[in-house]
């Protein structure tokens, strides 16, 4: 087993508990006197609530509470990370299939379920919108009450916000373009399907309140709850056990406010664990329709890009508009283009509120822009690899004017992917290859604190408020502490997930934690090193300026001592410990379109080879190559797990996943039988992941954030390969057998249908 230094792949911290069943997730926690809750929902999307009769439900033995909107403070408390629009329970009307109108708490789950079925809700179905086209119709019913968005110019429409980004002059540049390639590309609604359904517990806690949630942002949740129930932050204690998969779906509060009010009313702990079906109704990714118009010179140089995107978000904003903003702002990708115009709208609908999901608004744009790039290569008669390399930003290029310049030698990753797949080399008959690039802005703001305690025997406790949802943050922080303070990794304990114990962290998102919290842990270790320098100076009678503490050792002139020797002597008979505090900030920039520049960019090049069964439309990915620029892989095994996992998750929305709504706005692919995600039988026949390490990131030891990059370009790479193999061009996801089969048949009937829509503008 490795020492656990930086660059090693030690056993995952928390791995033992994960393989023995001891890891306690929210649903595994039992509190004395805990009540079990069940949501009451309607089998409709939008309905006016006429009345709720709880009498039969209350008569069920064991039922302690049936909560409706009328039992909550008036006016209805609302919350939300961007807009405070989401009510604790539906008030007046439901806005999407699965929105709770009431909730039952009982001594047993059986009783709660029975009683939930006996809550009688009288309702009247109302007209609703479930698609972008319907929602944008001027006659469409409004999803949200305009008074919720006072002063917003679009408040009387279903457009939550319209964003404009870009530089240069697209209209003027259009005159320079020799070839213009245009297309529209659709990305469906997909759901997170974390194997752990969302779970919440709230309990009175002395003169305060305790919450347990599988949440990514415990400190954000603490603020939300404190504000809603009127308690100071210090009286709301959020326990955040490691999420059993989150992927963005567990960033922000969902039903924690509801269980908080129920626990306060019942005076007892209340537990709500969603079913998988309820989880589908709680979180999803925004669907999109993106129109791309790109102008090129005949030599392949990009002259302009003109992008218009509509994202179908749900009935409440959650963090969806931010995904639209962030995904669209960098939609031009890693290319140097003189003129770019991007318009993006977040469009409300009577559907599940969409939220963050691995890739955060970027996969939708990348699907469109990279597919368009492949069509452009075809139209120009230039190899798709060459076309990308010709336009790719080089290190230091201001590829998004006003933002962080290109912070990696991205061409290295592109070349590596091409080399691994054998780009340009011979192919087996019937096979096709495709390549695509993905770029995503890292966090634009951030604040992470860490405390590190070096105990008297040289062992270490790290307090870090990141949520370890599988990305392995706990291991990375332990490796940093082990490296800096000279302990074996087995001597490091990392404490997370308790706002009463662990200092503040803004959030776990945007692949930030290795960089931002990593830097905070590093700073805390350096703080300890400074204290050890002073300690050694006193012990040795030398001035501390001649002492260097580095990577676990104390250097005094020619002599080198292990940190532990200085520590044991310095602390003396009383023992004690040395405490280090670290802070890491990514400052906001109020004038920046995203509120701050990117802390780093995630970059990935993906190349695939596919085989298409012309009789069934089934696409087999015979090879999948994914290469990420990670700056420095602090833990190569975990980097591999993140990249390969992201790649396979990307294959899910590429080949099979889609939430299907019926005409009444009910999800028909609701649950594991009807909604397919990749299994071991859907893997590429060969998966190769590789990395580029130039130690050019802002994180510890030159690391960049990673975890989302390998998902970003999967869909356009696969679609390009399908085109290469068959000649058919598909612009809607997923590339399901049915859709591919239909496209093949259509192509047989109308052979020109796959040609890109191009024109010479003059």
């Amino acid at each position: 087993m490795s020492e656990g230094r930086i660059g090693d792949s030690p056993a995952r911290v928390g791995g033992f508990d994960r393989v023995t069943g001891r890891q306690a997730y929210v649903a595994d926690i039992r509190l004395e006197g805990m009540l079990h809750a069940k949501l009451v929902t309607l089998d409709r999307a939008r309905a006016r609530i006429i009345g709720i009769d709880t009498s039969e439900a209350l008569a069920v033995p064991g039922v302690r509470l049936v909560m409706t909107a009328a039992d909550l403070p008036q006016p209805m408390p609302r919350f939300g990370p961007q807009f405070t629009d989401r009510p604790v329970l539906a008030v007046g009307e439901t806005k999407y299939h699965g929105e709770p109108v009431a909730a039952v708490a009982a001594e047993t789950l059986d009783a709660a379920e029975k009683a939930a079925g006996l809550v009688k809700v009288a309702y009247e179905e109302l007209p609703a919108v479930f698609t972008i086209a319907d929602a944008l119709d001027p006659e469409a019913p409004l999803v949200q009450d305009p008074t919720l968005r006072p002063g917003e110019p679009l408040a009387a429409t279903n457009v939550l916000r319209e964003h404009h980004f870009g530089w240069g002059d697209v209209d003027a540049a259009a005159a320079e373009a020799e070839v213009v390639v245009e297309g529209s590309y659709a990305f469906p609604m997909v759901t997170h399907f974390a194997i752990e359904p969302h779970g919440f517990i709230a309990a009175p806690d002395g003169d305060g309140l305790a919450i347990w949630s599988s949440i990514q942002h415990p400190y954000w949740l603490q603020r939300v709850i404190a504000k809603l129930v009127g308690l100071p932050l210090a009286k709301v204690r959020v326990h955040a056990p490691d999420p059993g998969g989150a992927f963005g779906g567990k960033q922000h509060a969902k039903y924690e406010p509801l269980v908080a009010f129920m626990a306060l009313r019942a005076g007892r702990p209340v537990r709500l664990v969603l079913t998988l079906e309820e989880t589908f109704q709680a979180v999803r990714r925004g669907a999109s329709e993106v129109r791309v118009r790109a102008g090129f010179r005949r030599d392949g140089g990009l002259v302009f890009r003109d992008i218009e995107a509509n994202y179908l978000i749900g009935a409440y904003a959650d963090i969806a508009d931010r995904t639209v903003t962030k995904g669209s702002y960098s939609a031009n990708g890693p290319y140097m283009v003189p003129s770019v115009r991007i318009v993006a709208r977040s469009v409300f609908s009577h559907t599940t509120p969409s939220t963050a999901f691995r890739g955060f608004g970027n996969p939708q744009q990348i699907w469109a822009v990279e597919s368009n790039m492949d069509e452009a290569a075809q139209a120009l008669g230039i190899d798709p690899l060459e076309l990308r390399l010709r336009n790719l930003a080089r290190p230091g290029d201001p590829f998004i004017p006003g933002d962080r310049p290109a912070d990696g030698d991205w061409a290295q990753a592109v070349h590596r992917a091409a080399e691994l797949i054998g780009w340009g080399g011979p192919k087996a008959p019937g096979r096709g290859r495709g390549l695509a690039l993905g770029l995503k802005s890292g966090p634009t703001t951030g604040l992470s604190y860490a405390t590190v305690r070096l105990l008297a025997d040289g062992s270490i406790i790290v307090n870090a408020g990141t949520s370890d949802m599988g990305q392995g943050a706990r291991t990375i922080f332990a490796q940093i502490a082990a490296q800096e303070l000279g302990a074996p990794i087995g001597w490091v304990t990392v404490v997370m997930g308790d706002t009463a114990v662990v200092p503040y962290d803004q959030q776990t998102s945007a692949s930030r934690s290795s960089v931002l919290m990593g830097n905070a842990v590093l700073a805390a270790c350096r703080d300890i090193q400074a204290k050890l320098r002073a300690m050694a100076g006193l012990l040795e009678g030398v001035h501390e300026t001649v002492i260097v503490v580095d990577r676990g050792e104390v250097h005094i002139g020619e002599r080198t001592l292990p940190i532990r020797d200085v520590l044991v002597r310095g602390l003396g008979r009383l023992g004690g410990e040395v405490i280090g505090v670290g802070e890491s900030r990514k400052e906001a920039d109020p004038d920046h379109p995203l509120g701050g520049t990117a802390a780093f960019f995630e970059f990935n090049a993906t190349a695939v080879e596919v085989e298409v069964d012309r009789d069934t439309g089934d696409v087999t990915v015979t090879r999948h190559v994914t290469v990420s620029d990670v700056g420095r892989a602090m833990n190569p095994s975990q980097v591999r797990g993140q990249d390969e996992g992201a790649a396979i998750t990307g294959l899910g929305h590429t080949l099979m996943e889609r939430l299907i709504y019926d005409d009444e706005g009910r999800i028909r692919s609701l649950g594991a039988i009807d909604y397919k995600i990749p299994t071991t039988l859907d893997l590429p026949l060969r998966m190769e992941s590789d990395i580029v390490e130039n130690e050019d990131g802002p994180g510890p030891y030159g690391a960049k954030g990673m975890s989302e990059g390998a998902l970003l370009p999967v869909a356009p790479a696969v679609a390009a390969a399908v085109h290469d193999a068959t000649g058919v061009r598909i612009r809607d996801l997923p590339l399901s057998p049915e859709r591919v089969w239909r496209a093949l048949r259509e192509a047989d009937e109308t052979p020109d249908s796959a040609d890109p829509a191009t024109f010479d503008p003059r």
Partner: protein, 169 residues
């Protein structure tokens, strides 16, 4: 009125007699009555495999089996996979290859893999893919999971071989 039924089963080598509501699944009884929460609950329709346990040596989705049907059987859950102080080669291999990410599906993956190796101690990669096809992992750590099962099969084979050499002496 809930109808309850007395059942007896051996769980992780220990005899358990318990009264269970007739409509409760084996999963519910393991988690809620016996507090063996290592077995996970997700889809409840037998698609995700998070609740996989071994019943009389066969891998079973415990969400699809009524507890009453488990009367008289021997159950192994994730809590019973390791011998005292000694991880199963599968558990060690999952740690070694980094197969566990968030970890929520891992108990089910391990029980399915144990049932597979018991039936077929030297599976090919394709046979591992088949054997684990009913166990979803949304972290999609499949490559490292499959690698772990193959590593464990090798370790197990080496152990068997050395035990045979030992016995032949």
């Amino acid at each position: 009125m809930t109808v309850r039924l007395p059942i007896s089963m051996t769980v992780n080598g220990r005899a358990r007699s318990i009264e269970v509501p007739t409509h409760h699944t084996l999963l519910e009884v393991l988690r809620d009555d016996l507090w063996l929460t290592g077995t996970k609950e997700c889809c409840l329709v037998g698609e995700c495999g998070a609740c996989t346990v071994m019943v009389d040596g066969a891998s079973v989705d415990s969400c699809l089996r009524l507890a009453a049907e488990a009367d008289g059987t021997a159950i192994t859950t994730i809590e019973g996979l390791a011998d005292v102080g000694m991880l199963d080669p599968l558990q060690a291999a999952f740690i070694q290859t980094g197969a566990a990410q968030c970890g929520f599906c891992i108990p089910g993956q391990l029980m399915a893999a144990r049932a597979l190796l018991d039936l077929n101690p030297t599976p090919s990669r394709a046979e591992v893919e088949d054997g684990l096809a009913g166990n979803l992992c949304r972290c999609a750590g499949y490559e490292q999971i499959i690698e772990a099962v193959l590593v464990a099969a090798d370790v197990q084979a080496a152990e068997v071989e050395s035990a045979e050499v030992e016995a032949a002496r």
